[in-house]
């Protein structure tokens, strides 16, 4: 009987993992000794970083989507379905459409994160976002109509995808309004939950003078408790208020309810051993990408590198070898510092990134990567 590897989720982590496994275990799959199944409830794979560019009218939402089947190796069995229950004792998945469900020998959860603006009163009605296709399109239209007033970017969710994106947004907005001759009529404020401009000290040290030079106000220790969309005011846990004309928020994030219901993690993220990515609460279960509760960013690069590690570990497992591959926390993030300059950071667990001066070349590299991302998803890059 073949050994069944099942991946739940068709985002970056799930897709890279499926393709890496198909490549590493091609012989075993062709011989019928191993099967690799991906279960996802979206026929499309979505590359979310495109949405930031959608907000500034530089890309279209359609650029972020491709059919997941086109990206997957033919050896991967794709099931478009929603997993609605996980029995980690019986090693069985309950599905919405498939009445029999799916049995697994090795399960990888790559269910990702979603924004939860509903967790903050008034945020749904009062704020824009650029983390969803609809949100990015609405923000694009709002920015196009915004010719003056107070633009506020507020990081509401302490845990959120792409921790560089809030800084990127205000730096791009500054440049974008300057190019359109409107910057003198637009005040920009950036708010952050802790006492500096970014969670990583070296990024905060780099960003603080840049924000000052660009005349972007910074409010720290600012945690929105509620938004009053009629008064256009944000009220914080710290007891302060801030008025806005256009509010862009990074809302709280949530993992999939499935994780909580399966007893794999209280808040939708799966606690894992941070180097092997094995779930702490169940045998033969891994989590990667935004789903994994590891002490680094919820970012595509993390999902990508974690997928490579889990592919190596699973390949060793099914061959009866001792897995040795480990995730060292490698994270790589581009940081756009305007409409035509960028920098990037690279770090691992316990290390501070070294900041590099922004350049046009790094910006072009980011744009090129946005095109070549699909090779990453295919497991080639």
């Amino acid at each position: 009987m073949s050994e069944r590897i099942v991946i739940v989720g068709g985002g970056t982590g799930g897709t890279v993992l499926a393709n890496r496994l198909a490549d590493k275990l091609s012989r075993e799959i062709d011989d019928g000794d191993v099967s690799v199944t991906m279960v996802t409830d979206d026929v499309d794979h979505v590359y979310k970083p495109i949405f930031l560019y959608v907000a500034f009218g530089e890309r279209e939402v359609a650029d972020a989507r491709r059919p997941v089947r086109e990206l997957l190796d033919r050896r991967v069995d794709l099931q478009i379905d929603r997993v609605v229950g996980i029995d980690t004792d019986a090693q069985h998945l309950e599905c919405q459409d498939e009445p029999e469900g799916i049995d697994y020998d090795h399960l990888v959860l790559a269910t990702g994160a979603r924004i939860a603006p509903e967790a903050t009163p008034g945020l749904v009605e009062g704020a824009h976002d650029f983390y969803t296709p609809d949100g990015a399109e609405r923000l694009r239209d709002a920015l196009a109509e915004f010719t003056g007033g107070h633009l506020v970017l507020s990081v509401v969710g302490a845990v959120h995808m792409c921790p560089a994106a809030p800084l990127e947004f205000v730096l791009m907005a500054d440049d974008w309004f300057r190019e359109r001759g409107l910057r003198d009529d637009v005040d920009i404020t950036y708010t952050y939950p802790i006492g500096r401009a970014h969670g990583i000290q070296s990024i905060a040290d780099w960003a603080t003078p840049v924000l000052e030079e660009r005349d972007i106000e910074v409010e720290t220790f600012f945690n929105a408790e509620e938004v009053d969309p009629d008064e256009q005011v944000i009220r914080t846990l710290e007891g302060t208020e801030l008025a806005y004309d256009l509010l862009v928020a990074i809302p709280d994030h949530r993992g999939d309810e499935l994780v909580k219901e399966a007893g794999l993690g209280d808040d939708g993220w799966v606690p894992v051993e941070k180097r092997t990515l094995e779930a702490k609460e169940a045998e033969n279960v891994y989590a990667i990408g935004d789903t994994a509760d590891v002490p680094t960013s919820k970012a595509g690069s993390v999902a990508h590198y974690e997928a490579g590690v889990v592919a190596d570990r699973l390949a060793s497992r099914v061959r009866g070898q001792i897995p040795t591959a480990e995730f060292d926390g490698k994270t790589v993030c581009f940081i756009e510092s305007g409409m035509d300059e960028a920098t990037f950071v690279e770090f691992e667990y316990g290390k501070q990134p070294v900041m590099r001066s922004p350049s046009k070349f790094i910006h072009w590299s980011k744009l090129a990567y946005n095109e070549s991302y699909w090779l990453t998803a295919k497991g080639l890059l």
Partner: protein, 79 residues
Amino acid sequence: MSEEIQADVVVDSRGATCPGPLMDLIGKIKTADSGTVLELQTEDRGSKKDVPEWLDKAGHELLDVVDQGDYWSLYVRKS
């Protein structure tokens, strides 16, 4: 004294790079009930300064800071 504090929620931020221990704590505190005791485990020396500073602003209580050898435990009660 500190050994008697029983945390309802443990936030393990040892080795945390991004977004860091205080951000992890804020994320947990926001979804915790009033009165919940949280233990933040951190290797970041800066947490001993920035966590109390934020707790003071947000009105939560710092119960104790315990040196565990290779990390610190900061015990916090949500107001």
